[in-house]
């Protein structure tokens, strides 16, 4: 068994939300006891609808938010006690929208070399050599170092964001919706690049996305989140071949592939995503679940693990 590079132990994040001047604050549980193991060299996919807490988990791992309770352990040590600079060298993010994640007033060289300057690794010459090297790795022409983000296309910008993330050779890269702002032909280029880099540099990815086609293609393991909980987790193949949670079923059924003979799927999910301030009783998925019974309304389902396939449901398939 390979060692876990990243482990989250019962990570919970509760936000205090103001509901009005005289009403006081209510709590919103964005992540509710997240246990996630990401092994070295693995690509872990984290999927779920907007508002399910997947970005909150990413922020906690990056150290941008503090978990209310629980620990994040990176390479054997809790990140809470880790030096910020040290952490930022080893864990790097790639964000969704390359149009807003790059500073429009800085040249590409300045953007890409920022991590290098923050960590004070070498002199200017060494930095320039490294910038040239990393731009070549992500497939950008060397002359682009003098360009500004507005001169670049969406795909090129995302390559710059990837170059910046890889500048200090991190161990874990957190990709938050890396391709959803891009056109299809560009999306495939970026996915190819991410896969190549992972192979060459032995990177570990945590890919957060709502696009199941992308997850199926690049992830080795997939965790499905619903309302702050991981409801199913398994090897990608096992999950796609044999989804056990009804929510995963519905998600997989909603994937629209270019196959005109199939027509539109019927997911049987009600429209309303529950209000996370006031989550449903029992299994939080029961109001939308086509198979819900009385047990689901009353008791929270326990986590069952069978042969590495985790599922949290009273009536799994």
């Amino acid at each position: 068994m390979t060692t876990a590079l990243l482990q989250t132990e019962d990570v919970t994040k509760v936000y205090k939300i103001s509901t009005g001047i005289f009403k006081g604050k209510q709590s919103l549980t964005a992540a509710n006891g997240i246990n996630l193991d990401v092994n070295e060299g693995e690509v872990m996919g984290l999927v779920g609808e907007s508002g399910c807490g997947k970005s909150t988990v990413a922020k906690i791992i990056l150290g941008l938010e503090k978990a209310t309770s629980g620990n994040v352990i990176f390479a054997g040590a809790p990140i809470a006690g880790m030096d910020r600079q040290e952490m930022s060298r080893r864990i790097q993010p790639i964000f969704q929208d390359p149009y807003s994640s790059l500073n429009p007033r800085k040249s590409i060289e300045a953007i890409v070399s920022l991590p290098y300057r923050v960590h004070k690794v070498g002199d200017k010459r060494a930095m320039q050599v490294r910038v040239a090297e990393i731009l070549e790795t992500v497939g950008l022409p060397a002359r682009m170092r003098y360009s500004y983000p507005n001169q670049l296309s969406g795909g090129q910008r995302q390559r710059v964001a990837i170059a910046r993330a890889l500048m200090m050779s991190p161990e874990l890269v957190i990709c938050d919706e890396p391709t959803s702002a891009l056109d299809v032909s560009v999306q495939s280029q970026i996915l190819n690049l991410l896969l190549d880099l992972q192979e060459q540099q032995g990177l570990t990815y945590l890919v957060i996305t709502h696009n199941l086609c992308v997850v199926e293609h690049i992830a080795t393991r997939v965790a499905v989140m619903y309302l702050g909980r991981i409801v199913e987790e398994a090897e990608t193949k096992a999950l796609f071949a044999n989804p056990r949670h009804p929510y995963t079923h519905a998600l997989l059924a909603s994937v629209l592939t270019p196959e005109p003979q199939l027509g539109l799927p019927e997911t049987h999910l009600g429209i309303a995503y529950p209000n996370p301030i006031d989550p449903p009783s029992g299994c939080t998925f029961h109001p939308r679940c086509p198979q819900a019974t009385d047990v689901c309304k009353q008791a929270r389902p326990e986590t069952r693990v069978e042969a590495g396939h985790l599922v949290e449901c009273h009536h799994p398939h």
Binding site: G154, L256, T257
Partner: protein, 332 residues
Amino acid sequence: MNALLEVKGLHVDIPLEAGVLHAVRNVDIAVERGKTLALVGESGCGKSLSVLSIMDLLPSKAAWTADSIFFDGQNLEQVTAGQMADIRGSKIAMIFQEPMTSLNPCYTIGNQLEEALLRHKSVSRQAAQDRAVFLLEKVGITAATSRLKQYPHQLSGGLRQRVMIAMGLMCDPPLIIADEPTTALDVTIQAQILALLASIQEEFDMGMILITHDLGVVARIADTVNIMYCGQVVESGEANDLFETPLHPYTQGLLRCIPIPGKTNPGSHLGSIPGMVPTPIGDQTGCVFQNRCDYVFAGCMTTAVEQTAVASGRTYRCLLSPEKCKKNIKQA
């Protein structure tokens, strides 16, 4: 059958300092009642500008010309601005992409829904309100009467998009234009909204133009498809046929780019289209796709490529013969 909307030879030009930007070049659009036409292409290919010019809603700098443009037997080139305002919303409705920004945050849902009907038809406020409630229920919103008093920020993205759809249907338009109606939504909601659009379209026998870049959506909902690239329609035809045997190298390339669970090999290299879209400023010689095409030859640089019909309603814009194009699918 007579088309509900028939546009021939549509051009949209935007004069810029660097020269004239030909955003849309010689595009034909035809939609029948009860059918869905999908305009597909990457950002900047002119799909949105094409429909905006039909609605006469182009930005003031841009100008459109067309050989002919007929809607429901009416020549849209000859209508005045006032007549066009009567058509917009009542005969042709539009559902915009971003439900977050296309609703006015200062007015209630009810206000915004009723406005269209009160503007176009002489009905009482009560009748308009009844119609709004009826349509909100139709698009699957519960407790519709109380929703009328809510403001857009009180609704989720999926609900707002449903409100947008209901708003489009207020005047019972024969043609509805949906510009990326599901792009901002979650996958599970996307499937529901598309199913909803399809059922409403059938029920009210509307024509629909669907603009999207998502080939998965197109394949499942469209009857006919126009693939657009750099302002031109490079391929068009019946959806089944087009996805079965894509002829143009661009369409073939696009389909290879998409990972399909169960079909593409996980972790393998996806197909990609190298290079970038050429700038649409100034005149183009030869094929627009020449710099990214795998099968490019000398003729592509010089010959202006015309739309060629292979069968009725099935066209493509490439110098290679259909047989050669079909062979290319197998090779890939």
